[in-house]
């Protein structure tokens, strides 16, 4: 089945795009940005309501907006973009045609129909059930149906990706193993299939319940399986954005992985253990045994955390090695000082790596520790944590990748590059602060998903400490700054797409040009690094990370030990 298609080689990046895959990437990326825009507008309502001094929206509107914000950001924005990333990592990086483009368009159509249907259900009211939609609280049937259609579309997209890998193998467009970034995308795809199947197992009966075809769905079973979907979908992001980090290290520095074996082994640990995370949401629940909680919450003895710690070292390490080879070899950190800080693709990814590790990673392990979870469960610490992982980790990486794709995939000159240069700093650093103050408020016990921390007019009202109010005010201010950063990203992306100067696309060929055989560079004597370490600067950063991690971990145990006795 060789349908008529063409291949162009981008004159700026040397990447080869197949025309069908290119159109699909563009469509998915644009749909993603549309949902980011909607989610961003909704975010204004949330931060201005949770900022106690402003307290803007009415309660019913607030819960409705919060439901839509969660779903649009965590599911629609991210998964649309991930489908584009999957097509990029298969068709573009392996230089082959996309398998079954018509079915890929069907997948896209299902995703669009599903996401619009779900949004409409929420805006009609009566479906303000939060992203988690815990039974027996019920939403409109179209709420669940929308999610199911979207998930089916995304699942089809995953199979198009897998089919494309088969095409590349059969057409011999590359030799040896797939690139590391594609390997990471395969990891994301495997986790996605698991995730979507879990979603179907629980959302289909819930949909049937909502239309009256079955009588009940057990609330605890719902929570267990829903979180195999809800948490694992965030693990797709982790695999996807770490792949992007590797890609950007390669694009911005020509960095090669320090060791293919280590990086791929770490991805393999993700495939094996990352899905156990459903337990993170069940630690404060009745019903589960302690053994089940301990084994699952730690991703079976923290092997997935180990994998993240490995990636966290090898990516900056690869950048350091590449910089040192270019001669930036003085001291521990010349490689970092001389990095391209003005290039938003690099700065975005670097801010993402640091924030994901220090804020998202460390806080995630705290919450995921069986006993420590009791001081965190359902407090605003939780959104503090996942904004660090999903916004600083995933969203900021996607933004950074977009700046690379504007000239390469969109074939447009970026409008206002001066503004783009600052965007990752404004967005990333205000999100750092946003997450920190949320975690601070959460440590004081402030609830998430709560309209009125003052309990106005309630005879049994609880008065939060002044520090909690201060933190929540800072959440509002930092949130507005981050939303401004997000708006600049959308302005630059959409503006470049609409008004940016058209760039040369590269001649269209009927046949793909295979990837030339890679010749191993003869092993030269290592002339950089110190103490036998190829990347001593990164190692020092890693030790700073470890010390922060260890200290904060035991501070939380100390805090826990002061609580009421519980057994």
């Amino acid at each position: 089945m060789s349908t008529a298609t063409t291949y162009r080689t981008c004159p700026r990046s040397g990447l080869q795009f197949e025309s069908q895959a290119e159109k699909l990437m563009l469509a998915n990326a644009v749909a993603a940005v549309v949902f980011l825009l909607i989610g961003g507008i909704l975010a204004i309502g949330i931060v201005l309501t949770r900022w106690p001094a402003v307290h803007w929206l009415e309660a019913d509107t607030f819960y409705q907006v919060l439901t839509a914000h969660g779903i649009d950001m965590l599911i629609f924005w991210i998964i649309f973009f991930e489908i584009a990333v999957l097509y990029f990592c298969s068709s573009t990086l392996l230089r082959c045609r996309l398998a079954t483009p018509k079915i890929a368009w069907l997948a896209f159509a299902l995703m669009v129909i599903g996401s619009v249907m779900n949004n409409v259900a929420v805006y009609q009211g009566g479906s303000s059930v939060m992203m988690t939609s815990y039974v027996p609280m019920m939403a409109a049937p179209s709420f669940y149906l929308g999610l199911i259609l979207f998930a089916v579309g995304a699942l089809i997209g995953c199979f198009v990706f897998l089919g494309t890998l088969v095409v590349a193998k059969r057409d011999k467009t590359y030799q040896g193993s797939v690139p590391l970034v594609t390997f990471g995308a395969i990891t994301a795809c495997i986790i996605a299939v698991f995730t979507i199947v879990s979603g179907a197992i629980i959302l289909v009966p819930t949909f049937l319940l909502s239309v009256g075809l079955i009588d009940a769905v057990d609330p605890l079973i719902y929570r267990t399986i829903w979180w195999a979907f809800g948490h694992s979908s965030q693990q797709i992001n982790v695999a996807a954005h770490i792949s992007i980090w590797y890609a950007v290290a390669a694009i911005a520095f020509g960095a090669k992985p320090m060791s293919e074996r280590v990086s791929r082994g770490a991805f393999l640990l993700y495939i094996l253990f990352l899905q156990l995370a459903s337990a993170h949401h069940m630690l404060a629940d009745p019903g589960m045994s302690t053994e089940w909680k301990v084994v699952n919450t730690s991703y079976f003895m923290y092997f997935a955390v180990l994998a993240s710690m490995i990636h966290g070292l090898t990516i900056p390490g690869a950048m350091e090695v590449a910089q040192r080879q270019k001669g930036y070899n003085k001291g521990l950190f010349e490689w970092l000082r001389k990095a391209p800080w003005g290039n938003p693709t690099f700065s975005g990814v670097f801010i993402s790596i640091i924030g994901f590790g220090f804020l998202g990673g460390i806080s995630g392990v705290m919450m995921g520790t069986e006993q420590l979870n009791m001081i965190i469960h359902n407090t605003i610490y939780v959104p503090g944590h996942f904004h660090a992982t999903v916004v600083i980790g995933t969203t900021l990486s996607f933004m950074a990748l977009t700046y690379f794709l504007i000239p390469v995939l969109f074939k447009r000159e970026m409008i206002n590059p001066g503004l783009a240069k600052w965007q990752p700093y404004l967005f990333g650093l205000s999100m750092y602060f946003f997450c920190l103050v949320m975690m601070g408020a959460g440590t004081l016990g402030v609830s998430r998903r709560h309209w009125d921390m003052a309990f106005a007019g309630n005879a049994l009202a609880y008065e939060w400490p002044g520090a909690a109010y201060l933190m929540m005010g800072l959440v509002g201010i930092a949130g507005i700054a981050a939303i401004a950063g997000g708006a600049i990203y959308i302005y630059i992306t959409v503006g470049s797409l609409l008004w940016g100067k058209r760039l040369e696309s590269g001649a269209a060929n009927k046949e793909p040009t295979p990837i030339p055989l890679q010749i191993p560079s003869s092993v030269a004597v290592q002339s950089y690094g110190s103490m036998g370490f190829a990347a001593p600067g990164t190692f020092v950063l890693a030790m700073v990370f470890l010390v922060s991690f260890v200290l904060y971990y035991f501070i939380n145990w100390k805090y826990l030990s002061t609580l009421w006795g519980l057994s």
Binding site: M301, L306, L313, A318, Q371, M374, H450, N458, F533, W564
Partner: protein, 179 residues
């Protein structure tokens, strides 16, 4: 050559590790094991471990038991809702109902004494967030969770619902006194 190209070394899995990676993997592995065994250690020696004692229940069944406790041990009522304040005997089974949108009844416990606190929900999921102690437990309808609690401070504590439970969620707050 790079992460976006196939590995130049066909036998990349035989490539030796750099020292920086090997060292870091060893350190990270040790830290992961410490964190894993810390949870088990705390079960053996720590004083804050969440009970897993759980029974299936129904709203009627649980309400009957709670009502019996209230009938027997109410010491006064508070607020214009006439919410009973219950002072159950030390070591006894204590019931707290979570429902749209309150916790019922108010409890009065003694410091450094142990009680078996039974929690369930009559309707949706709720959250038991004890403030300012900051202990947070999920309440799931249909399941009776029995937690052994030993208050170590006296004073007035609030129970804030921290699981979204509909439009009145933010008005759902209860109280526990510790003498």
């Amino acid at each position: 050559m790079s992460a976006i190209l196939p590995p130049a070394e066909r036998l990349w899995w035989k490539h030796p590790l750099d020292r920086v990676e090997g060292t870091w993997i060893a350190i990270a592995f040790v830290w992961c094991m410490i964190m894993f065994f810390m949870m088990i250690y705390w079960h053996a020696f720590g004083k804050q471990n969440l009970s897993t004692e759980t029974y299936k229940t129904t709203p009627e069944l649980f309400a009957t038991k709670a009502q019996a406790m209230v009938d027997q041990y109410t010491v006064r009522t508070e607020t214009d809702m006439q919410t009973p304040v219950v002072a159950p005997p030390v070591g006894s089974d204590v019931y707290m109902i979570a429902r749209l949108w309150n916790f019922w009844p108010i409890l009065e416990l003694e410091k450094d004494q142990t009680y078996r606190l039974h929690l369930t929900s009559m309707d949706y999921n709720h959250g038991f967030s004890l403030q300012p102690a900051n202990i947070n437990i999920q309440i799931v309808p249909g399941y009776e969770h029995v937690i052994t609690v030993t208050p170590n401070q006296s004073g007035q504590f609030s129970v804030v619902c921290n699981e979204y439970c509909g439009i009145g969620h933010h008005t759902m707050v209860g109280r526990i006194y510790v003498k």
